[in-house]
Amino acid sequence: MTAARTHRLLPALNHASMILFAAVLAVFGFLSPKFFTIPNLTNILVQSSSTAIVAIGMTFVLLTAGVDLSVGAIMFVAAAVAGKMVLGGAPLWLALLVILLVGLTFGAINAFFIVRLRIIAFIVTLATLYLGRGFALWFTETRAMNLPPGFLAIGTDTLLGIPLPVLIFAVVLTVAHVVLTCTPFGRQIYAVGQDVEGARKAGINTGRILAAVYLISGFCAAVGGILALAQLGAVSPTFGTNKEFAAIAAAALGGTSLFGGRGHVFPGTVLGAVLIQSIENGLVILNADPYLYPLITSGIIFLAVLTDSLRSALLAKLAQRKIRVEEAR
């Protein structure tokens, strides 16, 4: 009998993030008629695009059982450099190109220390977090910068009726999903995350894979930084603060394991990122006390983590070898 109940619960737990997502939408839709309107849903997508892209990069790192704490700082550096360049009269395309190079450079620094010098990712990226924030604060002289309308267009323009941030989000997501599921590189990331030593023995160039995921994470953080900057319109000294945790939360909420080898960008991580944004959006519509947002978000994250651990326990139980085939009841 217990076995039967286990089977019934499993599909629900397997799609916990999906169900949670639907539940959150349903609750807000029920509480406010404004929630389920096209403009509001589009708004949610636009607002979550920056975090979602950073979280997609983070997912690559988490899949290898690593972590990248420097993404928020990279966003700040990217925004600071972009702000200075655009205000200094540099063309937009050049600023964007430099930003992406900044992201890749930070990723390369992380990769060098982690792969070459074999220092733990947590420590390395913690150090680059401080390095990035320190550099950007010095660079901006800790003053806020307001950007000209030309840059803000990235956040507001539409193409074929689709907001540009959503479009960029969709492109990054599609590329990331295809890379992870359909390329040798993507499958090898999963192998490295499951067992680095085993992957090395199997003949995979693990150093190359590990370096690549930090480059990808740095690049995604820079792209996320551009989108966040275009939406906010200004670089403040707190730009990008705690984004690394928002990204990790989104990935974890979407079922990505922090121990490596398990997780997907779609629907997983993306759903997690949009879910967090939906909660915030819903609470704003309901005029909830802003101080409640983190409490409610944390509650949902706890719920997601709880269902995930329940699911793992059930899966382990189901995977347990059956020695006897008991007669069916």
Partner: protein, 529 residues
């Protein structure tokens, strides 16, 4: 096909290989035997491209062969199947096989899934595995995973396959499937190097045998020139008169009255089952009554007497380890009861059971039995630590602890060269197992459950473990030994239970021990009455 010429290798000044010379002719299967630490794995790691030799060279079909990494070795047609299989549980069979050589979709960087599936199906057919290529490895049994590894070797067109103790985690039936496959591969002209501690298998499967001892080749000849006895003699460098120690007290058990089993056997063998209730209560230490857990075990009852060594035989997956875990309180059990000294243990935690005198050596020494990175002394003290705490503050009495550690080290004859502070992972398998055993002995258990106590342990250390088991029983403890090796149980036990599909199928007393009868009971299939 491959020839080793004066290969030498040292690790931090310790010579592990010394001028190893031998060759594997094309199409031959070579058996590589030797005690643990004899250098087999190191030699194979050199061949497989994991390690460079310090001196000497290898010739592959007459050409100089010096692989830079495993990938390079694979390109030369050499596949190394490690003892701990190198498969990724989170990926599918097909992805595991083609992990480093995915078929592409034309020039695009995408995986050609259709082609990969087709190739995998063909490979799985060659190893007689009827599974979808998309099955995740985590769904496969140990035997199936082994076959996937071989399919992987075939996928790179390997001409030489190294099998490092492939049968350790296989059931007898799975091993037979593997051996049949090895026969087919041999017929196809593939060369193989087969490393195993099961000398009977080596003799059965191999054309030539090479014996390594302390990094040197001490014997290399066609299989026919070897007997298991000669191999053992070469491996250990001294002649072991018998593989199993004689039990000192067995013959005078009648006088000391140590074991009810033994007395009954000697006084009235025919009425052994109708035991005197009073005697039973005095002598039975551990008793299981009608233990049942759906899907795992059914109606398991037995009793273990003081001074008795009781064996549990059966195929891999017969429920032996699961029974051990239930006895120790690690896994749930829906029906039945366990008694220690006549007191029910139902619903008590493993910790309470340890306090009551139960000990459990798990089958997985490295993962569950030891803290590998920790010092020998710390590992030894682990179970009995609370006994060394002194009131009122519960601080540890380190002097007493050191004395206890020192005396138990001597008792289990742990290698004297190892320091107390040395990490356990630096010890050989045999010495590691002695540490686990010693750790439990410090807690002075009254009943021990030993799950595969000699797995992966060389001949010399095995003998010492057997001696320790006998000493424990002679000291009045009851010992339950789970083993996949029937010979081992016959060698050391007073009585053997045979499990199959979660049930006890047979019970044999010492005078009726019979290899065939045990195997028959173990192979019993409840689906075919």
């Amino acid at each position: 096909m491959i020839e080793f010429r004066t290969i030498s290798k040292s690790f931090s000044g310790v010579r592990v290989l010394r001028d190893a010379n031998f060759a594997v002719p094309s199409g031959h299967t070579l058996g590589l035997v030797g005690e643990n630490g004899a250098g087999k794995s190191t030699l194979m790691n050199i061949l497989g491209g994991n390690l460079p030799p310090d001196a000497g060279q290898m010739l592959l079909n007459g050409q100089l062969y010096a692989p830079r990494n495993p990938h390079d070795a694979a390109r030369h047609g050499i596949a190394f199947i490690h003892q701990e299989l190198n498969l990724f549980a989170n990926l599918s069979i097909a992805e595991n096989i083609f992990l480093t050589a995915f078929p592409r979709r034309g020039r695009l960087p995408f995986i050609g899934r259709a082609e990969m599936r087709k190739k995998t199906v063909a490979l799985l057919e060659q190893v007689s595995l009827k599974l979808s290529p998309d099955t995740l490895i985590e769904r496969l049994s140990a035997g199936e995973r082994q076959l996937v590894e071989i399919a992987k070797a075939l996928s790179i067109d390997a001409r030489l396959i190294i099998l490092d103790e492939p049968t350790t985690s296989l059931s007898a039936r799975e091993a037979e499937i593997l051996f049949a496959l090895m026969g087919r591969l041999r017929a196809r002209g593939l060369s193989m190097i087969f490393i195993s501690h099961t000398l009977g298998d080596v003799r059965r499967l191999c054309d030539d045998i090479v014996v390594l001892r302390d990094g040197e080749v001490v014997g290399a000849a066609p299989c026919a020139e070897f007997t298991p006895e000669r191999m053992i003699t070469l491996m250990v460098g001294r002649s072991l008169n018998q593989l199993y120690p004689a039990r000192k007290q067995r013959k005078d058990a009648q006088h000391s009255g140590v074991s009810a089993e033994r007395r009954h056997r000697e006084c009235a063998p025919n009425t052994a089952l109708s035991r005197d209730a009073a005697t039973e209560q005095n002598l039975i230490i551990l008793e299981a009554r009608h233990l049942t857990q759906p899907g795992i075990i059914r109606d398991v009852s037995f009793s273990l007497a003081r001074g008795e060594v009781l064996g549990v035989s059966g195929l891999m997956g017969a429920g032996r380890s699961e029974l051990a875990r239930i006895l120790f309180g690690l896994d749930p059990c829906e029906g039945g009861e366990v008694f220690l000294d006549g007191v029910s243990l139902t619903r008590t935690t493993p910790r309470r059971r340890i306090e009551r005198g139960l000990a459990f050596l798990t089958e997985n020494r490295r993962a569950e039995g030891l803290c590998l990175e920790a010092a020998i002394a710390d590992n030894l003290a682990l179970v009995s630590l609370r006994q060394q705490a002194r009131p009122p503050l519960g601080l540890l009495d380190f002097a007493a602890l050191r004395r206890a550690v020192g005396s138990i080290r001597e008792a289990v004859r742990l290698t004297p060269t190892a320091r107390d502070g040395q990490a356990v992972k630096t010890l050989s398998g045999g010495n590691q197992q002695k540490v686990v055993l010693a750790k439990w002995l410090l807690a002075k258990p009254r009943a021990l459950i030993l799950d595969e106590p000699t797995r992966g342990i060389d001949v010399g250390a095995r003998f010492e473990i057997y001696q320790l088991i006998h000493e424990l029983a002679d000291g009045g403890a009851g010992v339950l030994v789970i083993s996949s090796e029937i010979e081992e149980l016959i060698g050391i036990c007073d009585r053997i239970l045979v499990m199959s599909h979660g049930e006890i199928r047979d019970e044999l007393k010492r005078e009726t021990f019979d290899r065939e009868r045990i195997l028959r009971a173990a192979l019993h299939d409840p689906m075919k009455p």
